[in-house]
Symmetry: D2
C-alpha cells in the first residue's frame, strides 16, 4: 500500500513534526508540502532537521496543489481548515491538526473561538472509549489539542470507572513549541530560559471545553475543569498534573485497577510501575504517554500525572496514529515509543 | 551598627545565597564561614560567584568557630541544627534555614521527618499575620521552606478573609537548586534540561504540613492541602499554582480586594496589575514576590499564582529579612526587589 | 552628589540592564525613561523585573524629554545616537551603548556598518592602557561591544607585553540576550534551547574591527583577528576562547606574569587561581570578569579564556563603570562583583 | 538476516543510545543487556525512555552473559574493554565505544591515558579515506570519540586536498551527556544551566591525539591541534568550530570544491548550502552531520564548522553505521538523518 500524503502548513512546528514522522512511515510517500508566506522557499532552510526533504520547495496552500493525494494533513491557523476541506472533496482523508472540528458544542466553539462553528469530525484520540470505531474508515479526523490529549489520558480511566467526583483541577506545564513558531517577544529564548510562567488562567484557555467534552463523555455526566497552563523552559513536552476528589469509599487499589484495565492493551500509553514518575524527557520525540497515579489519603484525592511530547503524541503523532486507523493500517505503523533522551 | 555574622554550611546553595546577600548588607560583617566535608578549602573554589570572599577558607562547623558572632545562619542538613544551637547559648541570634524548628506540631514533625521534634521557633515569614511581632527581638528564627513561602503568600489573604473553602489544591514548579548541591544522578544537567517531572506526589512532601500550618492559622480552621511539586529545567525559581473553591456568593471583586489589602504595604510582595502574570525570571536573585489571582466563574474557584526565587525570598532572602526585623533594622536592608532578567 | 540620569531605549535589554544597575547606584536618581514604539506604556509591563520602577511611564525619545539630565544613557539601534547627541548639547555626559562612536577608523565603520562614520568618542573599557585618563572628565563615552570587552580583556595583557604573535583566533559563545529583544524566529526559545549555532562566520561580525583596534593598540602593531561568534542556549553570558601563537622562546611563566601584572589592581577583572576555569554562571548579573590562561606546549600557543555577563560588564555595567570615572566617582560605585549563581 | 546484539554498559548514556538505535534496527535482535553496579535492576527504571525494553533486567557484564551474540557493543569505562574482548573469542563482532583501541601510537595512549596500550582496532569513522575498506568484514571496531568525529569531518577534506597549513585551532561546545551519567557536582543541572565553561584547556584533553592522528593521516604529514572543549547548557550536541590557515594562493572556491567532492556521496554528512550554518538542534537524535565552511580573506583562514549529536553520530550511531559496514548491511540501515527539532 502506498499512501500519498500532502502537508499544508509545512513550515510550522506541527507541519514539521508530521513530516518528520511521515518520512519514516513505511507506507507513506510524501507529496505536496505547502505554506503561504513561505511558498517558494526550500524546506531545508525552514526545517533544517528534515534532511531528506531539504531540497523540497514549499508550494502555496491551494486546492489545486493539495488535490490528488490520499491523505491531506492540515497544519493551519484556526479557522482556515473548513474552507480548504470544502474544496478537496470526499476522496481524500483529511486530518486536521487545528481546532476547527474538535468541539461538538457550537456554543462552546463560539464562546472560546469567537467565530461560527464549522462542524464536528471524528475525534482522533484512539484511546478514548469508542474512538477507534469512529475513526475506522473515516474520511475526516479532528486531531485533539495537545493539552486535552495529556489531560484526557490522565483522567478518563477514573471518570469512566465512576471513581472520582466531577470536578477536576489541572495544572500543566508545556514546552514552548506549543506556542508555535510565530516570533513573539515573550517567546524569545532570552525570556523563556530560566522562567516558568502561567497564561490563560481562570478558565480562558481554549483547550478547556475540549477537556470537559472528553471527561464528561467518559463520566457520563458533566465534569467541570479548572485548567491552568504554564510555559516551561524546554522546547517540547507536556507534564499534566491532574487532580480530582475520589468518590465516597473509593480506595487506592480501585483507582489503580481502573488504570491498569484501561491501558493494559494500549500500545502507546504506559502506566508506570509504582514508585516511578513520568518525565517529559522520556517521551521526547516519541508517541508514548507515561502515566502514574497517586491516592492522597489525607485529602482523599486522586493525583494523575501524564507526560507526552506535545508535538508527537500531542499533535502529529496522534494524527498519524489516527490516520493509520482510518486507513486500516496497523495502528503503530511509523510511530515509535522510544524517546530521545537524555 | 555592625552585625557580625557567621554562616554554617557555606558550601551549599543556601549558604552561598546567604553569603551573597550578606556581602551587600551595609550593617553586616561576615565572620566565620564553615563546612564539614569541605573544611579547609577556599570558598573561591566552592562558590566562584562570590568573588569578594574568594580567599576565605572554610572552617569546620563547631561551637568554637561559631562562637562570638551576633548572628549565626545555619544552612545544615535537617536534624543538625538543634545540637549546634544548644551549644551556642542565648547571646547570638540563630537563624535556621533548615526545617528543624518550623513545625509546631510534634506529631507532624515525626510523621514527615521520622525523628524526635526539636521544638518550635518564631517563624520567619513576616508577611503572615502576627509574624513581625513574634520576630521583633527574637533570638531564634525558623526560616520557612521555599514551597511554603510561595504557597502561603499566594493563598493566605483569601483564607484570612474567609473567602475560600478549606481545601487547597496546589502544583508548584521548582528550579533544581531547591534539591541542593549533593550530586545525584536524577539532578544531572543531562537529566533535567528539557524535562519536567513530579516528585513527592500524593501528600508525601515534607513541606505539606508547613503549608497546612500556615493556611490553617490564617483561616482559623483546619485547611487541607493537596500539594504536588515538580522539578523544572531552570536553576532557580518557584511558580506555585494554587487553587481553592470560593465560598458561597464570594465575588471576584472581594477576592481582589482581600489581596490588595493584604499586600498594600508589603515591601516585597507585589500584586501584579490585572492582566499581568508572574514569571520566575522577573524575581531571579531578588527578594520580591509576584502574585496574581483569577476567579474562574465556571468552577467558582480562586486561582492564586506566586513566583519567587527559591534561594532568595524562599530561603536566604527571607532569612535576612527576618534577621533585620529581629535586630531592629529596617526590614529591607540589604535586600533587593529587582530581578536579574532576562 | 546627586546625578540625574536618563535612559533612552529603556524597553530593550541594554536599557533594562542599565536601569537595574542605576536603581542600586547610591549617587544616581533616575529621570526620564524613554522608548519609541513603546512610549506611553508602563515600564512594569515591559521590564517586570524592575519592580521599583514598575509605575514609570515610557516617554518618547526626544531632545526635550532627555534635556536637563546630568547623564544620558543611549540604548538605541545603531546609527541613531549621533542625531540625539547633537541635540543634547555639551552639558550632559552622554554614554552611548550602541556602536556609533567606537571605531576610530572611518573606513572600518563604513565597511562593517554601511553608513557614514559619526565620529569617535572616548572608549569605555577602563582596563585598557590609557583608558582611564581619557575617560576622566569626559562628556562623551562610547561603551564597547560585548564581544570586544570579553576578547580584549582576555588578550590585551599578552599583546601589551609583546608575548604573542599578531594573529588571534577567537571563538566566543554568547547568551541570546546579546541578540536583543526584537522578536525573530531564530531567537525563539523553541529554536535556541538545546542548540549551539554559529553566525557571522568568516570575518563578517561587526565587532571584529573593534577587537582589532584594541589589540593592535595594545601590541603597538597591526593584529589580525579571526572571530567566530556562536549562540548558546542561555539568556546571558559570554565565554570567549582566545588563542595566539606565543612568541619565540616565550614561557608559560612569562605569560602568567603578564596577566598577574595587568590585573593585580583591577577591581573587576579576576585572574583565577591556576586550575580553575571561568564559567559564565559565576558572573551572572555581575560586573566581574573571570580570566584564566593556559600555555599549550605542544602547539606553543596561548589560550586565554574570559567569562563576562554580556549585559553587565559587556554593556550596562561597563557603561556605569565608565560613567563613574567620567564623573569622578569611585569606579566601583553601584557595581557588584558577585554573580547570581547557581 | 538476524543479528543478535548484546550491549555491555547498558545503564549509561552510550549504552542507552545504542539500545535506542538497535530497537529500531530491522536486522537486529537485542540479546543481553548488562551493567555492573546496576545488575539486577529493570532497564525501565534506568532508561525510562526505552519503553519497549522496560521489562528487561540488567545482567552482570561477564563473558558468559555476553557469549553467543553476533555483535557485542561495549560501553565501558576506559581500560575495561580489552579484558572483556579477550574473553569473547573471535566469533563475535566487538564494537568498542570506549577509547581503548582508537590510537595507533602506544606512546600517545600512555601519555594521555596513563596505562599500557591495549592495541589498535579498525577505526569506525567510515567517511575517512580508506576507512570503509578496513571496516568491511572486520571483527573488531574502535568507535571514534565524539569530538574527533566532529572535528575530523569538519577538517579532513581540506587536509586531504592539501589546502590548509598543518596547524588547526579548534574550539568545540558539547552537551553535558558527553561527560557521562556519573553524578558529579559540576554536572548538576543547577550548575550547567545558564553556564558555558571550558575544561581540559591547553592540550590536555584525551581526544587531542585522536584528532591529530586523523588529520595527519589525511594530510600525509604531521598536523598539530590546539583543542579547547567547552561544556554547553544542553543535554546533547557538539558544535565544533575549526580553523586553519589556508595554503598560499588557495581560494575560497577551491576550499568549497574540496568539501563538495568529499561529501557528494556521503549518506550522513551534509554540506549545507552557502549562507546556512549548522545547529546542533537540527541533528538532535540523528546520525547526520551538518557542515559549513567560510574563507576569511582578511586572515586567509578556513573556518569549518560541524554539528553532530554527540551520542548518535558521535558515539552510538557511528557504532551502528560501522557495524552495518562490517556485517555487509546497507550502511544506513536503522539510522536516521532526521533530527528531533525544535
Amino acid at each position: 500500500m502506498v499512501v500519498r500524503a500532502a502537508v499544508a502548513g509545512a513550515s510550522g512546528y506541527a507541519g514539521g513534526e508530521v513530516l518528520r514522522l511521515l518520512v519514516g512511515h513505511p507506507e507513506v510517500e510524501i507529496g505536496a508540502v505547502t505554506g503561504n508566506s513561505n511558498a517558494g522557499q526550500l524546506l531545508g532552510a525552514l526545517q533544517p532537521h528534515l534532511l531528506p526533504l531539504a531540497g523540497r520547495v514549499l508550494e502555496p496552500t491551494t486546492a489545486e496543489v493539495l488535490a490528488g493525494h490520499d491523505v491531506v494533513f492540515l497544519a493551519l491557523p484556526h479557522g482556515q481548515s473548513a474552507a480548504v476541506a470544502a474544496q478537496l472533496g470526499d476522496e481524500a482523508l483529511i486530518v486536521d491538526m487545528g481546532a476547527d472540528f474538535r468541539l461538538a458544542d457550537a456554543a462552546d466553539w463560539e464562546k472560546f473561538y469567537g467565530s461560527p462553528h464549522a462542524g464536528t469530525w471524528p475525534y482522533g484520540l484512539p484511546e478514548l472509549p469508542g474512538a477507534r470505531a469512529a475513526l475506522a474508515g473515516a474520511k475526516r479526523i479532528a486531531v485533539p489539542g495537545c493539552y486535552p490529549t495529556a489531560v484526557s489520558l490522565a483522567l478518563f480511566p477514573a471518570y469512566a470507572a465512576g471513581l472520582v467526583e466531577p470536578e477536576a483541577v489541572i495544572t500543566a506545564a508545556s514546552g514552548t513549541s506549543g506556542a508555535g513558531k510565530a516570533a513573539k517577544p515573550h517567546l524569545l529564548g532570552s525570556e523563556v530560559m530560566g522562567s516558568m510562567s502561567p497564561y490563560g488562567v481562570g478558565g480562558g484557555h481554549r483547550h478547556t471545553p475540549e477537556m470537559i467534552q472528553n471527561l464528561s463523555a467518559a463520566a457520563g455526566r458533566r465534569v467541570s475543569v479548572s485548567f491552568t497552563p504554564t510555559l516551561a523552559p524546554m522546547p517540547r513536552g507536556i507534564l499534566a498534573t491532574c487532580s480530582a476528589k475520589a468518590g465516597p469509599g473509593v480506595t487506592a487499589a480501585e483507582l489503580r485497577a481502573a488504570y491498569e484495565k484501561a491501558y493494559a492493551d494500549e500500545p502507546f500509553v504506559h502506566l508506570l510501575p509504582e514508585g516511578q514518575w513520568p518525565a517529559t524527557a522520556a517521551v521526547h520525540g516519541s508517541n508514548a504517554v507515561q502515566i502514574q497515579i497517586a491516592y492522597d489519603e489525607s485529602t482523599h484525592r486522586l493525583i494523575a500525572i501524564s507526560a507526552i511530547d506535545n508535538l508527537t503524541k500531542g499533535t502529529a503523532g496522534g494524527a498519524v496514529q489516527s490516520m493509520n486507523i482510518a486507513l486500516g493500517l496497523p495502528e503503530s505503523t511509523g510511530l515509535s515509543t522510544i524517546g530521545v533522551a537524555p
